[in-house]
């Protein structure tokens, strides 16, 4: 994603300065594109095919699957557990990405503008650490944090015996993912805020605008594009995030089973590869729509 602004710059006419020639250039590109084709494009396309079969992990349909048309999709329409997964994903994205990471990330970027470098670096270090640690490690940290007997949260609140991950699984996941992903929004907004002309902030202060008014009328118009970009990206990542599986495995009783976890449970626990492919395809389409909007925005800006 760091490369997001690339297409605009790459349009300068390339000159073959090393004397590579088109033939050898294609040879250079080939290995990468073979791998991408085999492990990214082919699976994506194949999802469509598996999605219209009754392919299963075991049993008769594992050996000779047959084409069942769109029945997997009509099944999804009436599948209460799928609706549940969609709803939980929406809650997860809205709570942890659109509200949680966005607001906390912006708040951090905003209040850190003029703090002392030492304070700023310390706070940033923790926020970044939450982002770069391996996902299994952070998942375990939070499982320990939320634990019923002796977890740190219960120790802090004096609520011994509360099983947070069982009683409030979605709230736990929302807090967890806000913690996990805020760094990206913080960094994006930090650099966006540098584009706000200091003179305008100064004049806002002169006329006695309140902090909130300054944000709304001076800052926000400058960073509107960044807010949209950030929201799209973090929503996309959050909707596709598999870490809820590491904390709750979708339980208890499907209460935290977001779409990625549902796909895994249907495919590898239930063995219904055909049906889970149909759902995967729906997820791919949703990703495609969000990405197209995102790329459109980028193009307009550049």
């Amino acid at each position: 994603m760091a490369s997001a602004s690339a297409p605009a710059r790459g349009r300068a006419p390339a000159r073959d300065v090393a004397g590579l020639g088109v033939g050898r250039a294609l040879g250079f590109v080939a290995p990468a594109f073979l791998l991408i084709g085999a492990f990214l494009i082919f699976p994506a396309v194949w999802t469509i095919y598996i999605g219209i079969t009754n392919y299963r992990l075991t049993g008769v349909e594992a050996v000779s699957p047959s084409i069942v048309g769109l029945s997997n999709y009509t099944k999804a329409l009436n599948d209460a557990l799928f609706h549940n997964a969609l709803w939980l994903t929406l809650v997860f994205v809205l709570g942890s990405a659109i509200i949680g990471q966005n607001i906390l990330g912006f708040t951090l970027a905003w209040i850190m503008r003029r703090t002392r470098p030492a304070v700023r670096r310390t706070v940033e270090a923790f926020v970044l650490l939450a982002w770069i640690l391996p996902s299994t490690v952070v998942a375990y940290l939070w499982v320990a944090f939320y634990d019923r007997d002796g977890g740190t949260l219960n120790g802090l609140l004096g609520t011994q015996g509360t099983a947070w991950l069982i009683d409030y699984p979605m709230a736990c996941l929302v807090v967890f993912n806000t913690w996990r992903g805020t760094a990206f929004s913080m960094m994006l907004y930090s650099s966006a805020l540098q584009a706000v002309p200091p003179s305008q902030l100064e004049s806002a202060r002169m006329v006695g605008a309140s902090g909130w008014q300054t944000l709304r009328d001076v800052v926000f118009p400058h960073i509107r594009g960044h807010v949209l970009t950030n929201t799209l990206l973090i929503s996309l990542w959050t909707a596709n995030d598999f870490s809820p599986f590491l904390l709750t495995k979708g339980g208890p009783n499907h209460e935290s089973e977001t779409v990625p976890v549902y796909i895994y449970n249907v495919a590898l626990q239930g063995g219904e590869l055909g049906y889970s492919s149909a759902i995967s395809f729906l997820l791919l389409i949703a990703n495609l729509l969000v990405s197209l909007v995102y790329l459109r925005l980028l193009r307009r800006r550049s």
Partner: protein, 280 residues
């Protein structure tokens, strides 16, 4: 927010206090869940809560003696080095050709790559990838895991590197050519040294991304002696038990060190920050 030469008003003082309370609250929110990884590995009776440890290195000995713990680190290293080298090599070749030679349909290709890197996520493609590797007989193969990860990381890697190569002036190559250097010499002696920081960045980025990847090896690896660290942690967590409570904190700490060290290294050398790429 500053009141210049006027003495601070009560409202101003209140606002400053509120400001620091907010900073402290946010810092605590980020720090407290992490404290456990700093205390539990050294605690004689490690629990899941944070408390001042009863210092010991016994847990480290237990972890080193664990039949699978260190072995899984080797597996992680094997998978991630393979992935990082493959991603860097193939992305370097592709991005150089795409930057310097006008290949027909290049812009469409690049646009497609950018789309792919965000649309086909690990979770959206897990079923077909599992089925494909199953039919290819590559289930339970570390090499298969590295292949899938390489395919997943390449589009973003090509993009980042191409941006980088575009920024390298073409005059170096031109002058080398004027002096009669062959294509091979130009690539080896002119382009490669100039591109080294970019290549290092991509290699670290690919390594860190595959080091933390849980889903791909979790789907594809069955036997415990082939599991990389990310999956072994999950296996040990599911097993539970007091032995694992001694091993897991130490293992979490050791498993995190490479990522943090590489991050600090790259950040101090190139001022570069990890960007999302493909999260899975």
């Amino acid at each position: 927010m500053s009141t210049r030469s006027l003495p601070p008003t009560p409202a101003y003082v209140l606002r400053r206090i509120g400001f620091y309370v907010l900073i402290c609250a946010i810092t605590l929110f980020f720090a407290v869940p992490m404290l456990w990884i700093a205390s539990a590995p050294f605690d004689a009776s490690p629990g899941l809560g944070v408390h001042w440890p009863d210092w010991t290195l016994e847990n480290f000995r237990k972890t080193l003696e664990h039949p699978y713990a260190m072995h899984s680190m080797v597996n992680s290293l094997l998978i991630c080095v393979t992935t990082a080298v493959a991603v860097t090599a193939f992305a370097a070749l592709a991005s150089y050709a795409l930057s310097r030679v006008r290949i027909p349909g290049r812009d469409a290709l690049l646009y497609g790559l950018l789309l792919l890197s965000s649309v086909v996520t690990g979770t959206a493609a897990m079923v077909p990838i599992f089925v494909m590797m199953f039919q290819l007989g590559l289930i339970d193969s570390r090499f298969g895991v590295a292949l899938v990860m390489t395919g997943g990381l390449l589009p973003a890697a090509i993009f980042i590197l191409k941006d980088f190569v575009d920024a390298v002036p073409k005059s170096y190559e031109e002058s080398a050519r004027v002096f009669g250097a062959s294509t091979g010499q130009i690539l080896r002696d002119v382009v490669l040294p100039v591109a080294r920081p970019g290549l290092a960045t991509i290699m670290v980025w690919a390594f860190v991304n595959s080091w933390g990847n849980f889903l791909v090896p979790f789907l594809l690896i069955r036997s415990i002696d082939k599991q990389p660290g990310a999956v072994l942690m999950q296996t040990l967590t599911d097993e539970g038990g007091s032995v694992n409570l001694q091993v897991l904190p130490v293992f979490s700490l050791l498993f995190s060190i490479p990522v943090v060290v590489l991050y600090l290294l790259v950040n101090s050398r190139y001022g570069f920050r990890f960007h999302g790429g493909i999260k899975s």
